[in-house]
């Protein structure tokens, strides 16, 4: 195994662990699952991209593709939630 592959493998493991810590912290602080999940997925994505370096096997490729799709789905859900809250706030304001 080359030095680069070894470094990225360790860094990917570290990024995965950091993702869990950051996600748990975000959940504890905000008490809302979606933003915490977004933080977790962002950090996991960094880990997935590090695993794609070199010559990845099919499982690594599939994991990265799933993460990208999940991340996209979640950010769409987050954005629609923000839009709904903004619209509700505007309606509330105009009703007053």
């Amino acid at each position: 195994m080359s030095v680069l592959a070894e470094v990225t493998r360790v860094a990917a493991l570290g990024a995965g662990a950091a993702a869990l810590v950051a996600g748990a912290l975000a959940l504890a602080v905000t008490r809302r699952p979606l933003p915490a999940l977004a933080v977790l997925l962002d950090m996991l994505l960094a880990a997935g991209l590090l695993r794609l370096l070199g010559e990845p096997d099919w499982p690594a490729i599939l994991t990265a593709a799933t993460l990208v799709a999940l991340r996209r789905l979640l950010s769409a859900a987050l954005r629609s939630g923000v839009r709904a809250r903004t619209a509700a706030a505007v309606q509330e304001k105009s009703a007053l």
Partner: protein, 130 residues
């Protein structure tokens, strides 16, 4: 001559990939430190968004390097299996880069809108008291 070209391309691929990896690792370390800082000090959902935005920028830059190494790798990809994997990885990276750019633009717009709303509200408040 062909072997020399393959050798040069392989070295270039490693150098470019190392640059991409360095960018992603630095981004992940920085983002983790900021996530912890924001979680301990600010304790709001909105405070996490700028950190995610910056991490997205780091990832997009790292992806650019990785895509460059994919392009270089196409110069020497002997088997169909390797070409298939290369195509799949390049497709994932291209799609991710596209979505990341869109997300960054969208979240920047959102932050600007929220800032505008805060400005209008504070302006209204000050206007009302004068």
């Amino acid at each position: 001559m062909e072997e020399l070209l393959a050798e040069v391309v392989n070295v270039l691929v490693v150098v470019v990939e190392a640059c991409g990896a360095a960018v992603i690792i630095v981004g992940a370390v920085w983002a983790f430190a900021r996530f912890v800082w924001v979680g301990v000090r600010h304790r709001t959902t909105a405070a996490f968004v700028p950190v995610r935005l910056t991490l997205g920028r780091f990832l997009a830059l790292g992806l650019e390097f990785q895509l460059a190494s994919d392009v270089l790798r196409t110069a020497v990809a002997p088997s169909w299996e390797e070409l298939g994997q290369l195509a799949a990885v390049a497709a994932i990276r291209t799609a991710l880069n596209y979505f990341l750019s869109k997300e960054i633009a969208e979240e920047r717009r959102q932050i600007a809108d929220e800032q505008d709303q805060v400005d209008v509200t504070s302006h209204d408040r000050h206007g009302g008291t004068v």
